[in-house]
């Protein structure tokens, strides 16, 4: 058990999340929990709020209303124009400053759909910049850890290449490795296989399966229903910023809560 996470059974508890972009409400009164070691899949039509949800959970976007509790230690609380970070251990509450949010984001890894690598930096630099700058880890130690991850992800031959020179599959593996280098408590994946061909998708799925077996708590946004069914402990169907159904994959597939869920599942299945 990770001592920093304590005995929390839920790694993320979101309550009443609301988020509006411009005048368009993207998340509407959204509540759910991510359990320890759970892989929670998020499916739903495009524009339904999946990416915004991940960005809000990672602290990249601030919620307008609601609370997000992280592993019984930190709580992000928004009400009106005020967003606060509450330390649940000390009872201290501060406004969500750049530094406070940075410290939260360090523990919530986010892997982007478009990789978001630093294209001009080498693979090794992409992997070690976070640990050396954010975690104050020694360069040698960071590089040693990076090399272990590169070996595991089949990137050893590419460590000195610039990220911009890599293929899509390699970039996605670097992006996952970069998130893992920060030793996150939770990992969020945003449609990470959407730009990959079936072989590369299979590759990346293997990595996620390994992570799941390693007890990593994950939220996986995906359109790959077979993959979601096989790896995720539960599936959330999200549309128009709200949760329509949150169930175990076989339940959701066998008994869709609404005709919309059923239709969506049929389309996903026929697209594969």
């Amino acid at each position: 058990m990770n001592p920093e996470v304590g005995g929390a059974n839920e790694m993320i508890v979101a309550s009443g999340l609301r988020k509006t972009l411009g005048t368009h409400p993207v998340l509407y009164d959204l509540s759910f929990a991510l359990r320890r070691g759970e892989a929670l899949g998020v499916i739903g039509p495009s524009g339904g709020g999946k990416t915004t949800l991940l960005r809000c959970l990672s602290g990249l976007e601030l919620i307008d209303d609601g609370k997000i509790r992280y592993w019984d230690s930190i709580e992000l609380e928004a009400s009106g124009n005020f967003v606060r970070l509450n330390d649940l251990n000390t009872g201290r509450s501060t406004s969500a400053t750049d530094r406070g949010l940075a410290s939260l984001r360090r523990d919530v890894g986010l892997v982007f759909q478009a990789y978001n690598l630093w294209e001009e930096k080498t693979v090794l630099e992409n992997l070690t910049l976070g640990p050396t700058v954010v975690l104050n880890e020694g360069r040698q130690m960071a590089e040693a850890r990076a090399m272990v991850l590169c070996e595991r992800f089949g990137l050893t031959a590419k460590v000195r290449n610039r990220a911009g020179q890599l293929s899509g599959g390699q970039k996605q593996r670097v992006a996952i490795a970069r998130a893992l280098m920060m030793k996150p408590k939770v990992l969020l994946f945003d449609e990470i296989t959407s730009a990959l061909d079936p072989v590369l998708t299979f590759d990346v799925m293997g990595i996620l399966r390994d992570l799941q077996q390693g007890d990593m708590s994950m939220i996986i946004v995906t359109h790959h229903i077979e993959f979601a069914t096989s790896i995720c402990d539960r599936l959330m169907f999200l549309t128009d910023g709200g949760i329509v159904q949150l169930d175990e994959p076989h339940v959701l597939r066998r008994a869709p809560a609404t005709p919309q869920v059923q239709r969506f599942l049929e389309i996903l299945a026929s697209a594969r």
Binding site: R99, R105, E120
Partner: protein, 223 residues
């Protein structure tokens, strides 16, 4: 063409040309250093909404003025009659052209900051970087890479533009040339020498600039 070339007449002025060349190099170096420091600071301010509102009118004004007009304006402004003490012609030229360079460098830096991909900054924030860490390790390297090609063009242009300082009697190469011509009346030879001096200064600088651009663009990564 029956022109009788005679460079021998210029031999007594070798020292004067050397001093003029050193003054040209010195003036350009001062302009580049002062103009760049001011320009980078300006660019950082212009990257903010408030900074843009306040400073863009000034930047646009500086960019609109022909350098010669700005130089003459500063020459008459930084005089004893106006400010109570005299500034040497060298420093008047340095200040005027630094302002001109700063306006262009500022806009270059502002554009480079605006062009930092959102994906790159999101990635930095996502791994827990603070704004300062992101600026130092993600934004700055990107800005340096983006501005270097534009800066080298501006710097080489400034080396040539420094000849304008001759109109306010800075004893740089062109001023020296005009003095020599008034004494030896060998204009063609004198301007040939001046041209040769600039070729010797500019061509290596251009090659160096290209090497720097390639180095910055490629970085240390394996190819």
């Amino acid at each position: 063409m029956q022109y009788d070339w005679n460079f021998g007449r210029l031999l007594p002025y070798v020292h004067a040309f050397a001093v003029g060349t050193i003054t040209t190099i010195g003036l350009t170096a001062v302009i580049i250093i002062v103009g760049s420091v001011m320009g980078i600071a300006l660019g950082l301010i212009l990257a903010t909404r408030t900074g843009r509102l306040i400073l863009y009118p000034i930047v646009d004004l500086l960019r609109a003025l022909p350098p010669l007009v700005l130089l003459l304006f500063m020459y008459y402004t930084l005089s004893e009659d106006v400010i109570g003490f005299a500034v040497s012609a060298f420093w008047v030229a340095a200040i005027a052209m630094s302002l001109n360079l700063a306006a262009f460098v500022g806009d270059l830096v502002r554009a480079a900051i605006d062009n930092v991909p959102r994906a790159a900054t999101d990635a930095g924030y996502a791994i827990g970087m603070t704004r300062r860490q992101l600026t130092r390790h993600v934004v700055l390297p990107h800005v340096v890479r983006e501005v270097i090609p534009g800066l080298t063009v501006l710097y080489i242009g400034m080396l040539k533009m420094s000849t304008l300082a001759s109109v306010i009697n800075v004893t740089e190469v062109v001023y020296t040339a005009q003095t020599v011509i008034s004494e030896v009346t060998r204009s063609l030879e004198v301007w040939t020498v001046v041209g040769a001096i600039f070729v010797v200064l500019v061509v290596p600088a251009t090659y160096a600039a290209r090497r720097i651009e390639r180095w910055v663009g490629r970085g240390p990564a394996a190819q």
